[in-house]
Amino acid sequence: MADLTSNFVGIKSPNPFWLASAPPTDKEYNVRRAFEAGWGGVVWKTLGEDGPPVVNVNGPRYGAIWGADRRLLGLNNIELITDRPLHVNLQEIKSVKRDYPDRAMIVSLMVPCVEEAWKAILPLVEETGADGVELNFGCPHGMSERGMGSAVGQVPEYIEMVTRWVKQNTRMPCIVKLTPNITDIRKPAAAAKAGGADAVSLINTINSITSVNLDLFAPEPTIDGKGAHGGYCGPAVKPIALNMVAEIARSADLRGLPISGIGGVTTWRDAAEYLAMGAGNVQVCTAAMTYGFKIVQEMISGLSDYLDSKDMHSPAELIGRAVPNTSDWQHLNLNYISKAKINQDLCISCGRCYAACEDTSHQAIAMSDDRVFTVKDDECVACNLCVNVCPVENCITMEQMAPGTTDPRTGKLVEADYGNWTTHPNNPNRVAAE
């Protein structure tokens, strides 16, 4: 059986599943129960500077998007950092870490953008025995209006400056948590690296308005007739987060910068995908908030079985495996030609592929009077839309055409050699193929 033990920037945990800094990690009661359930580590709910704690709204703080059967697909929140006194949090962190020495205990921090503030809080965190700190440069609501959170995360110079202060004032490993509310994730990641960060974690939540109340004419969640944008997370954000992780993982300048993958991790499979895309571990928030702490058991058994099935002995062997295959469009092989193929034994004749292709694509699916659906190879461009709309798994497959055969759509021979856009005759900027 695979050994799931994880070592992320020197921080050890029995598995690579950490709870992200959020309500699940807001207090001792939660974190103890999370550890009992099997979580490898937690990033404690973000602490602010000493003094009167922030306050949260007293109306609803979440909005949501649902799929079939009210499956929660996306969650939006307007919660701030911890609203409990600093010393209470610190005491609790210390007590939990003492009782669970094998688990990772990271403390998330967000204090004003002056060095004194960081100098003041870091020794207090060190004193708890915590394994590291995470700098919350991501919170996109409320705190950003006060010049913290994503207001810092959106300015690479600030990220670098604050990271440097932190590295100069503590021996603890420092993870910089990035906001996705920027145009190029590599810039803030590079700034963190330049400031000396041990790792980046991403993503924090995405600016969002989940819905508008059509009776009140106000965004939801609505508080006394008004609403504000919040931060989006959950399964819906995974594709965005995964791309950002890939951008960093395959950047030549950032190569080797450890990544803690966050955003929509709900099952072992999501976690495995993050690892393959270059993350050293994953953090989870919404899935735990939706289903409770127990889901980690499925994540552990699932990842372990998957690694076994691939003859891998530890997550380390999986980490980054998909990075070399993540390329740019211009390098995709234009000589690779495939055609959709419908398995008539599996087809239930719903006609969705037909409607999709006929109305919105390439008119490449034929429908007979008795509802038999077939692909017209001379029209099919292999776009994959039919595969995506077909309700029956594996009913439509993409079949590669063998080199040497003729593509009935173009009348051209399928070439065996790789050829991409950079050398394509239609490309005005093409380079000569060697």
Binding site: I348, C350, R352, A355
Partner: protein, 442 residues
């Protein structure tokens, strides 16, 4: 001490009233809001959907289900009712397992169709619980049309004609409108007096006057109607019943199943209805099943349904057969009644086993019977009607009969199965044809 299941002979009140209430409650209780949402989410919104083809009234099923899924059940109801004005009753009584749900691609895929009938009920119930009527009438045409029969065919025809701006008079021999919706459908399919509520709701469009207690051939004649109205639609159903043709079938308590069922539907208290301890039902269709099941639900101890051919030939769907079996009805196939025994009233009935060609095998058996219900088919009743074909009024196109200006539809006419939904489709289509004919005449 009141009667119980073991009380010999025929007795009322064999069951306690709360048991009766439970027995005759909704067969498929309505879906809750969330259940409907989940069920609606299962629809694939098929292209040129096979379920629509399978619905005799061609309701745009994917569209109405999507309207439910997006939280607009009243729009869904309008989609349903614009094709099938009795969509509420059809949602309750359609044998969906042989219609839309049989054709559903998810039946093909998983053997679990989208629950179209239940969703249809969900939407129509919501709309019909609201005051008002969703359809309005076109400008008055000044034309008057007579509809004979206030069953599903006649009502659907009348509604569509009223919508087109015509004035309609509906004549029906019975004291209440609704046809078999009111007098035939099993009690547990149409609960809470739904049939009358639906008729009243339908009449909400205006322009339709219903004259009950008016029988064609007794109180009115076809010639009179033709003279007084611009067109006539006949939706008189099948008023007669086939005879048993067994020795002694005139004995007491050998009864027509349809009358027993009508009594059930009209009873205000099931505990007042007398039922035998031993009941035999003869027939293999929906009527036979409904009579047998309801006899059992009333508290009969032994209910046996006897059908002359094999199971596969039964008109009742496998779902209906299973329903009967689950209520404790014993089904015997390949047996034909040969004589009814008893002194004045039936005591026993003798059957001969028959093979699939109805040839007696030579073996016979007897069943004790306090009551025998005959459900061996209904027949067209009446004289002076248009030409018939195989016992039904012959029609071409949308219900045109051999007499110009006279249309027919529903059970009394040729074409389609004897189902509520088919009657609605035929009534609606005849109305369109009447309208087209009258407006073309100028």
């Amino acid at each position: 001490m009141s009667a119980n299941a073991l009380t010999p002979g025929i007795a009322a009140g064999r069951l306690r009233s709360d048991d009766l209430q439970q027995n005759f409650a909704d067969l498929h209780p309505p879906m809750g809001q969330h259940e409907a949402q989940v069920a609606a989410d299962r629809c694939y919104f098929c292209h040129d959907a096979p379920c629509v083809t399978a619905c005799p009234t061609a309701i745009d099923i994917p569209l109405f289900i999507r309207q439910i899924a997006t939280g607009t059940p009243e729009a869904a109801a309008k989609t349903i009712l614009s094709q099938n004005i009795l969509g509420g009753m059809c949602a309750r009584v359609c044998p969906t397992e042989t219609l839309c749900e049989q054709a559903c691609v998810r039946e093909t895929a998983e053997g679990k169709p989208v629950r179209i009938g239940q969703l249809q009920r969900h939407a129509t119930d919501i709309l019909q619980a609201k005051a008002g009527h969703p359809f309005s009438r076109a400008a008055p045409t000044g034309r008057r049309i007579a509809v004979v029969g206030a069953g599903p065919a006649g009502l659907a025809c009348a509604h569509r004609l009223a919508m087109k701006g015509h004035d309609v008079v509906v004549f029906d021999a019975r004291p209440k409108a609704g046809g078999l919706n009111e007098y035939g459908i099993a009690s547990y399919k149409s609960t809470d007096d739904f049939a009358q509520a639906e008729v009243n709701w339908l009449l909400g469009i205006g322009g339709i006057s219903v004259q009950n207690g008016q029988a064609l051939g007794r109180d009115i004649t076809l010639a009179q109607l033709q003279a007084q109205y611009d067109a006539v639609f006949l939706g008189i159903g099948l008023g007669g019943v086939n005879a048993l043709g067994a020795d002694g079938d005139d004995k007491q308590n050998v009864l027509d199943a349809v009358d027993f069922i009508a009594d059930l539907r009209q009873a205000s208290d099931m505990a007042t209805l007398p039922i035998g301890r031993d009941v035999v039902v003869i027939g293999g269709g929906m009527t036979a099943i409904d009579a047998a099941v309801q006899a059992k639900l009333l508290g009969a101890l032994n209910v046996t349904l006897v059908y002359r051919r094999g199971r596969a030939r039964m008109n009742a769907s496998p779902f209906e057969q299973d329903l009967a079996a689950s209520k404790g009805v014993r089904i015997i196939t390949n047996a034909t009644p040969v004589q009814v025994l008893g002194n004045g009233a039936v005591r026993e009935i003798e059957f001969a086993y028959t093979d699939d060609t109805l040839t007696p095998t030579g073996d016979t058996f007897r069943l004790a019977a306090d009551q025998v219900f005959k459900a061996i088919g209904q027949t067209l009743a009446g004289s002076g009607l248009p030409d018939t074909d195989k016992g039904k009024i012959a029609t071409v196109g949308a219900g045109r009969t051999s007499i110009a200006g006279v249309w027919a539809g529903g059970d009394c006419a040729t074409g389609g199965d004897d189902l509520t939904v088919t009657a609605v489709a035929q009534g609606r289509d005849a109305a369109e044809d009447i309208h087209a004919t009258l407006t073309a005449e100028g």
